[in-house]
Each structure stands twice: as C-alpha cells, then as structure tokens.
Symmetry: none
Subunit: 218 residues, 4 copies
C-alpha cells in the first residue's frame, strides 16, 4: 500500500490529494484493472478503500470522472519524456544509430509501464468504449508522439539506416513489436520465466533488421 502511494503522488502531481482520496484511487485502479470499469461498482471501491460511498462522489462527480482521473495523468506522463528529453537527444546526435534510440526508448518506457501496469491495462481496456478517452489518446499519443516519431524516422531514413517505406508504416511496426513484447511479457504471460535482457535484445534486433531491409548485412 505504501508502495502505491508514492506512485499516486508522483502521477497526480497537480492536485493535493487527501488521504481518503488516495485510497479511493488505489482501490479503483485495483478493481478496474481486475474486473473492468463497468463491472466494478462504486460501493465495492468504497468498501475496499475503507471510505463511505458518498466520499467517492464528493471528489469525483461521477464514476466516469473517477476513471478519467486515473487514466488521464498516465497518458500525460507517458508521453512527457518523448517530448522533452529523447527527441532532443536524438537531434543532438546522442543516438547515432536507430538501434541506440530504440533501446533507450524501450527501456525507458518499459520502466514506466511496469510501474503503471494496472493503470495502463485500464486505459487499453476502456479506450474503445469512451470517446473522451479516445480523444485524449489521440491528443497525447497521436499528436505528441506520432509527429515526433515520424520526424525521427525520416531523420534516420535520410541517414540510410531505415528502409524507404512510409514513416507511418515504420511507426506501426516498431510499436507493434515493442508493445507486442510488453503485452506478452506483462499481461499475457507475466507468470512465465522471462530472460528480459535477451528478449529485449532480440526484439530490438528484429526491429532493426526488419527496418534495415535486404541490405541489413552491411
């Protein structure tokens, strides 16, 4: 529990959260990710959080507001580093090879995902059913990340490191591979034994060769 709390504060850095509010968020995350948003009742959350039912609605006007309060900051935090640090680093030649960039990105975002696994699970699950979420997602990932990523791809294509195919295809393939790994690793078979270092390396290599095209041997 104490383990969670710091994450909460870290994530919701804007507002001041009362003790009860934190407990509500933690309980909601747990229940939403285990049973899904609409299969979770507010009374269940209240019970788990040890607060009265009314308390939830004092802080979040509706159940959906609670969902958004949980899921929105995770999106913001997820994209933040892309915007600020990484892109700059690439353009500053910090990552001469795609490979270095990919490795950095994968490792960086993996830590974030692991820390916020249940919340991300909720996000992924609920996006299809809530237009507001879709909108938020498009804003954050769609624009912030996609546009920047496209530029990077073109940058590396110019350097001859990436095959000449549409940048959006590259985007899709890279994300499929990375998220395919992370989903398999942390959502589908989290209980299996994984050699994370080797798998990460293989995934990067797969993407690298896949993107290098026929002349990847050189």
């Amino acid at each position: 529990m104490t383990d969670h709390e710091f994450k909460i504060d870290e994530l919701m850095d804007g507002e001041e959260l009362t003790d009860k509010q934190k407990k509500i968020i933690i309980s909601a995350i747990e229940s939403f990710s285990e049973k899904g948003f609409s299969a979770t009742s507010t009374s269940e959350i209240a019970k788990k959080a040890g607060v009265a039912e009314g308390t939830i609605f004092r802080h979040y006007k509706t159940k959906k507001d609670l969902l958004l309060a949980i899921v929105a900051p995770v999106m913001a935090k997820f994209v933040a580093p892309f915007i600020i640090k990484d892109l700059k680093k690439v353009l500053d030649q910090d990552y001469e090879h795609v490979e270095d960039f990919l490795k950095a990105m994968l490792e960086n975002r993996r830590d974030f995902l692991i820390k916020n696994l249940p919340t991300v699970k909720i996000l992924v699950q609920e996006i299809p059913f809530h237009p507001e979420l879709k909108e938020l997602f498009k804003e954050h990932i769609g624009l912030q990340i996609y546009e920047r990523f496209i530029k990077l791809v073109e940058y590396y294509q110019a350097k001859g490191q990436i095959i000449e195919i549409p940048a959006y295809s590259v985007f899709r393939m890279v994300f499929s591979s990375i998220f395919g790994y992370l989903i398999a690793r942390y959502m589908i078979l989290p209980e299996a034994e994984w050699d994370d270092e080797a798998e990460t390396e293989r995934t990067i290599q797969f993407i690298m060769h896949g993107l290098a095209g026929p002349n990847s041997g050189n």
Copy 2:
C-alpha cells in the same frame, strides 16, 4: 441483417438455431462489441433482437453463457485451418520459403478476421476478465497453434531461412507484427485509407528481414 445470418449459421454449425435465437446472437454481438459485455444489458439485447427478455434466458441460462456461445465457436473456427490445411501444405513443400507461408497465413486469417471482426473484438476485450475464456483460448490458440507454429519455425530454421533464436520469440514477433497490423487496420483506424496490398507486403517484408537476421541480404 440477412447479411449476418449466413455467418451465424456458418459459425454455429453444430446446433440448430431458431429464428429468434439467431436474432439474439446477432444483437448480442453488436451490443457487446460496441459497449462491452458488462455495459450491455440483456433487456437492450432483447429489444434490439425484437424478442422478449425471457426468450434470451430460455436459450442461454445466463448472460455469460450467451457470451460464451458467441465467442467459443469463433476460436474454434479460427484455429481450424491452421491445424488441417496449412501445416500439411508446408510440410508437403507447398511453401518452400517462410515468406510464402507467412503471406498465405496472413491473407487467409485476415479474411476470417474481417468477417468476424465484432466477435473477435469481443473476444479480445473480454478475455482478461473471464477465466473460462482464458482457458478456451489457451486450449485453442496456446496448444493448437503454438505447438504447430513452433515446429514450422524449427523446420525453417533448419533450412537456414530463420535466424537461430528461440522459436517462442519468433512466434511472439510474428504475431505481434501481424496482429499489430490487423488491429491498427481494422480496430484503431478503420476509417483511414489503407493500401492493404502494400501494407501487407511491407509487414511481411518487415517480418522476413527481422527474422532473417544480419545475413538477410544474401
């Protein structure tokens, strides 16, 4: 609506379905895939299907039974071709190169997915919340497909067409790429303009080079 009916019969070939039963299934698929299983009420399904609410429960003891009745056959049908046709073809040298096999697989299953998109969407959405579904999935995909696929990978590895990494990594990468494509294409951005032929080709090439390793140029 008539458009749907043939699919229903095709999918549930075992049982005899009454007219009302078919309508129930069609309505349930529509609602489940649009709003999610637990956000869909049986009364809503009944209304959409034009039947009395009691009629649903005459045929499906519980709402969950209805879900299973929809989702189970789709899994069975999905794996069927892998088991019978494709594997045989490969071993009979019908597909000399991995590429041919991949292309065949992707095209073959894509048709199925397109036809059963809403049902597959339901399956994907609900699997995390229903142990019975997880079990079914493991049985069908986990065993039927995984085991066969692993053999194929080893076969092509022996022929030197695939890099020497664990077969399960290959499995993961191939499926990530393929499903990443299909999900992006049909679930995330179905309304965008897609050059399917080109995208398919690129995806295959991406996988091919990714798996061929550094010597893919030869």
Copy 3:
C-alpha cells in the same frame, strides 16, 4: 416410485390419470411439501416429473388447481371412515368405552396420516393462505367430523365416561393431544426413536384421565 403410484390411484379414484399426470402429481407433492407451494416453480415440477412445462397446464389450468387436485382428495379420504364406519360402530355399541373408541380412531387415522404425510403437510401449511382450502376444510372436517364427534361426546357424557364440559372443548383437547402427538412424532422429530405403542398408550391415557375429571380413579 411404484410405491407412490398405487397411493395416487387410491386417492384419486374418481378420475383416470395418464402416466404423465401421475408423475406430475408425485413430483408436485414432493416439491410442495419440501419447499412450500409458492416456493415451488412449475418448471421444477415439470423437470422432476420428466414432462414438458406445458403438459402440467394441459391437465391443471393453473398452479393452484394442481394444489387443489392434490389436497382435496386427501381431505375427503381422511373424513370418509369417520362418517361411515366408526360412528356406526360406536352407536352399535362396538366401543363401550371412550378409550376403545379413541384407540381405534387414533390407530386408524394414524395409518392414513403416515401414508399421506407429505400431502397432509402441504394441506396444513397452505390452509392459512388459500380461502378455497379453508372452505373445503370447514366442509369436511368442520362439519362431517365435528358434528359427528360432538354427538359421540354427548353420548359418552350421558354414560358418565366424560366430564361435563362443553363438547367443543372436549373436541379441541382430544384433537390437540392426538395431533400434538402425530405432529411431534412425524413432523418435528421423525428421526428420533419412538416407542410408538407406549406413546400411543400414554397419550390415550392422558386424554382419558383428562376427560374423566377428578373421579377418574373410580
């Protein structure tokens, strides 16, 4: 089951019962007596009887009709012997002492009760909730038995064997004692060990002395 059937025929001697009808009656008696009339569903009876739900309603227009069809004949049969045989015997001096009459009555009706225990249980349970049943009961027991019994009491009072108190008080006491015994014996503690002969004798003696009044020692 064959064990039941003869009882059924015996009880419903008026009508011809089809095979299915018998099964319905047997199943209904079982369920009604175990769970009560309104806690028993017609579908449950149908399932237990191995017939279709509709079949019940072909023979009995409503669920209540089924109840009456079960319970009415048991009342008729219960009072029958009083009317015909016993009263005559008493008046013909077959039972010189109240004691003999009581013993005969208790034994005679006990056999009937044991045979029809579940049905009697249903009757006792449901009487308070169904005016029709109350009416039937008044007709049969209230008139047929009560009136005859009163005459007997007066007869024995004239002979000095019974204390001079209102005959209806005698009626109540005798029936309380007898049914108190039968209810304790067969409904409240059927699984206890009972020395039936001794208990019957004690009950009779209790009634005898109770009714004889202070001069019972003579």
Copy 4:
C-alpha cells in the same frame, strides 16, 4: 401503526432502528403473516412501508435476512422468562402445585403470544422450510425450555403430583394442550366467541387430571 412501534422497539432492543427500518419490519410482518414468506414480494413490502425497494436491501442483505431479523428476537424473547423467573419461582416453592405453575406459565406466555401473534404465525409457518430457523428453534426452545421443563416435571413427579411416565411425554402433552388451545383460539377461530377464562381453566384441569393419572381423585 403507532400501536406497533413500541412492540418493535421492545423486541429489537439490541439495535438502533431507523424510522424507515421500523416501517419495513412492520410491513414485512404484516405481509409475511398474511400471505407467507415466499408469496410476499419485497416490492410489496416496500410499497406498504412507504420506502424505496432499495432501502430494504440497505438494511437487510437478502429477503431471508429480513425474515430472520423478524423472527429471531421473538424466539429469544419468548424463552427469556422461562429461564429467569419462572424456574426460580418453582424451585423456591412459589408454586407448590403443578396447577399453579401451569396456570402461571399459560397466562404469562399467552400475553406474549397475543402481542406477537403475527410474528409467531410467521415463525410457525416458515420453520419447516428454513434450516436456519430450525436451528435457532432447537437452540432456544429445544435446549433452554426443554431441559428446564424436564427438571420441573421430575421435581413434581418426586412430589407425587405427576404420574410416572417419561418426562418428555409429559412435555409433549402439556405443550400440545396449551398450544392446541392457543392455536385454536387465536389462529384457527379467532373470530369465534371465546370464554377465555373458562377455556383456560378447562385446559389446565384437563392437563392436570391427565397427568395425575388414575388416582387424580385424591
């Protein structure tokens, strides 16, 4: 209605009952005793009580819980006086003759029964169908009363006031007679004219002579 409320508080002295809760209990008692537990719907109770249906379930998790909340305290209250007062009085020679004890007991408990008639009716009706009720009954009546009563019987047998038959037979006969009277008086024919004093006296005399045996004349 105000007439009821004091009884409610008196009966459920343990808990604090909200106003609505009292109304629910009162309505439930009325309906349960009139139509039986399973023929009474919660919506009916709610309507009669003038509360929302949900309110019932806030206070009583299930309909059965409501039944138990009504019926359990009546059992506890019913046996209480036996345990504390009467037994002590008898052993303290307050009742030198069985007759005095019987009279005291009958009068004392009759008042209670009259006050709680509908609740007792519910108890009697529902006991056969609810194992939990049976258990409660055994605990309270079976142990608390039976054991104490047996001791009293043996005490009076030693004094020669009661015939030498098994104490449990005495128990059964006494209770049959008393409850036979009360049931006839208040449940079967409540609308008839009763000379309560005379009937009570006759019943006591009946029991007295019945238990005194052949030498009751002395």
